[in-house]
């Protein structure tokens, strides 16, 4: 009787505890795929420079564009008009305060705000990919207002 209980316990414990395998993941270069019908082209340095400059910042808890952000985006919409083949990735971020999932959703709203502006300015939807990193990719690492304001942003790539 004891022995069978012993075996039972052993088996069930083994099932749960033994062999928790660890999975290694390596990163691959993720290319911009899937955007309907448009082929991927690597962006010229000049293009990249324009995009790098077009970082849009947001107020705490907000996802609406300010006049400053609209200024930043003018360059992008012009660029998109000039070069009809480019697709861009619009990536939203949030500062570290608050919960991670809500910040992920907030980053997405910010990305959508930027995307909607560009669409309203003639850019076709299928040239845009929007996504969010929430608070996972901060630019600035401090826990103060300066750092936080730098992290509440949308980057275009």
């Amino acid at each position: 009787m004891n022995k069978s209980i012993n075996t039972f316990f052993a088996l069930s414990l083994m099932l749960i505890f033994s062999a928790c395998s660890s999975v290694q993941i390596t990163e691959e270069a993720v290319s911009d795929q899937s955007v309907a019908g448009v082929s991927i082209t690597s962006k010229s340095t000049a293009t990249q420079a324009v995009l790098a400059n077009a970082v849009v910042y947001f107020d705490y808890d907000q996802f609406n564009l300010t006049s400053k952000s609209i200024q930043a985006l003018k360059g992008v919409s012009d660029l998109m008009k000039r070069n009809q083949k480019i697709t861009i990735s619009v990536e939203g971020h949030a500062d570290e305060r608050g919960t991670r999932e809500y910040n992920l959703a907030l980053g997405q709203r910010r990305a959508e705000s930027v995307a909607n502006y560009l669409i309203a300015n003639g850019v076709k939807r299928n040239r845009l990919i929007t996504k969010s990193y929430g608070e996972e990719r901060p630019l600035s690492l401090g826990s103060n207002d300066t750092a936080w304001s730098k992290n509440r942003r949308v980057e275009i790539k």
Partner: protein, 428 residues
């Protein structure tokens, strides 16, 4: 004449009730069972290790005060009867003794619990161990002692999931999904990635875990089997998915999808991967979690202008979200207490600081339970008496916890930072 007799009989109908005095007590001090734990007989090294783990387990619950080892008296037995008077003098409520038994490759434990007030043994138990699992043996014993004395199931033998981030010299991060015992020991890596991992969630049977990984370049939910490491993306759709939460019967996963650009809550039936949409309005809806009976969902919504907690009754045909949090301008990441007596969530107070709060269903105010500045990610233990959450100290993230009865503890990372804890169900 007859009438009078009848009346007479009725008049003397007696109240045969019997004197019961009824008193009311309103005042008391703080709860703690006082327990003396005698190191178990047997191998001295094993005994010491077991004793340390059990003490730690019981003290962490906040409901026990364990007598200092230096104050322990020898156990006196005369004529097969334990002498209780010494322990009574020390103010003890219970005494625990035990023996370690060697069995093949492993160790078993016999333990006894004595009630000092009632002057009798109240429990005699045996725990079978398996090879190299002394910690688990100790946790099982702690839980047995806890349950015997409090009537509540113990959580020493439960486990935790959390995310560990380590930065190298170039500030490049490696993210790991970790699995550990409830006291942080026995760490195992379930996933190692160069991209962020968030929102780990336990399956109710403790065999699988769901989480969000950014490995494909955007947020996607994966389910992974703990024992085998087998993993799969939960949906093949090329859309962002996050915030996974398992239904109590393990058949559904509630998720947040961003299909139309806005975070909305869906329920995925795992059997055939069919999706049912649960929210449809312009604001953010996310952080869904199931009630213990599986008939309600709690979630965070920005529809009132700021993040607040809402509840959906799944039994209704067209469930309407009912708002549940009304204090303050930021309430998020709620989860139910296991008896549905209330909810635990993140609350931002007037000064902008984030704390873990508790709101009982029958009360209309909230109780703030933590004191740091940016407390986040609370997860409730399956017995409803403890909560683990994330805090930040000196710019580093670590885990902290508390029991409802007031005990506090910390679980710092051995390397780097830890956050996003998730407490498993009962696993025994």
């Amino acid at each position: 004449m007859k009438k009078n007799f009848l009346l007479f009989t009725l008049l003397i109908a007696p109240m045969l009730s019997y004197g019961e005095l009824f008193l009311e007590v309103t005042k008391g001090s703080e709860e703690q069972y006082r327990v003396a734990m005698i190191p178990f007989e047997g191998n001295a090294r094993v005994s010491k290790q077991l004793n340390n783990i059990m003490r730690n387990d019981l003290i962490r619950t906040g409901e026990f005060s364990i007598l200092d080892e230096e104050l322990l008296l020898p156990v006196k037995i005369i004529d097969d009867e334990l002498i209780y008077s010494d322990w009574k003098l020390l103010g003890m409520d219970y005494l625990v003794t035990g023996t370690i038994i060697k069995a093949n490759n492993s160790i078993d434990i016999n333990y006894e619990i004595y009630d000092v007030h009632k002057k009798r043994k109240v429990r005699s138990s045996k725990v079978f161990g398996i090879p190299n699992q002394i910690r688990q043996l100790a946790h099982y014993t702690s839980d047995g002692i806890y349950e015997s004395i409090t009537g509540i199931k113990g959580i020493a033998a439960t486990r935790l999931l959390y995310v560990n981030e380590i930065k190298d010299s170039q500030r490049i991060s490696t993210y790991k999904l970790m699995l550990a015992d409830s006291d942080g020991a026995n760490e195992k890596t379930l996933l190692s990635s160069s991209e962020p991992i968030i929102s780990p969630s336990w399956s109710p049977d403790g065999k699988r875990v769901a989480y969000v990984s950014f490995e494909t370049g955007m947020a996607k939910v994966f389910i992974q089997e703990i024992a085998s490491g087998k993993r799969e993306a939960v949906l093949s759709k090329d859309t962002q998915i996050s915030s996974p939460s398992w239904s109590p019967d393990g058949k559904y996963l509630s998720l947040t999808l961003y299909q139309d650009g806005n975070a909305e809550i869906y329920i995925l039936r795992l059997r055939d991967r069919t999706l049912t949409r649960m929210t449809n309005q312009f604001a953010i809806d996310t952080e869904s979690t199931w009630s213990p009976k599986g008939n309600k969902i709690l979630f965070t919504s920005g529809r009132s202008g700021s993040p607040q907690i809402y509840e959906l009754d799944l039994r209704k045909l067209n469930p309407k979200a009912k708002r549940v949090s009304f204090e303050g301008t930021y309430n998020a990441k709620a989860s139910y207490l296991p008896n549905e007596e209330g909810i635990i969530f993140v609350h931002r107070s007037g000064n902008g600081l984030f704390h873990i709060a508790l709101k009982y269903k029958r009360e209309n105010f909230i109780r703030i339970l933590t004191e740091a500045k940016m407390d986040e990610s609370p997860s409730v233990a399956p017995n409803g008496n403890m909560v683990i959450y994330g805090i930040k100290e000196e710019n580093l993230s670590l885990l902290a916890g508390f029991s409802l009865s007031g005990a506090k503890f910390k679980l710092p990372a051995s390397k780097g930072e830890v956050r996003e804890p998730a407490w498993s169900n009962f696993l025994r």
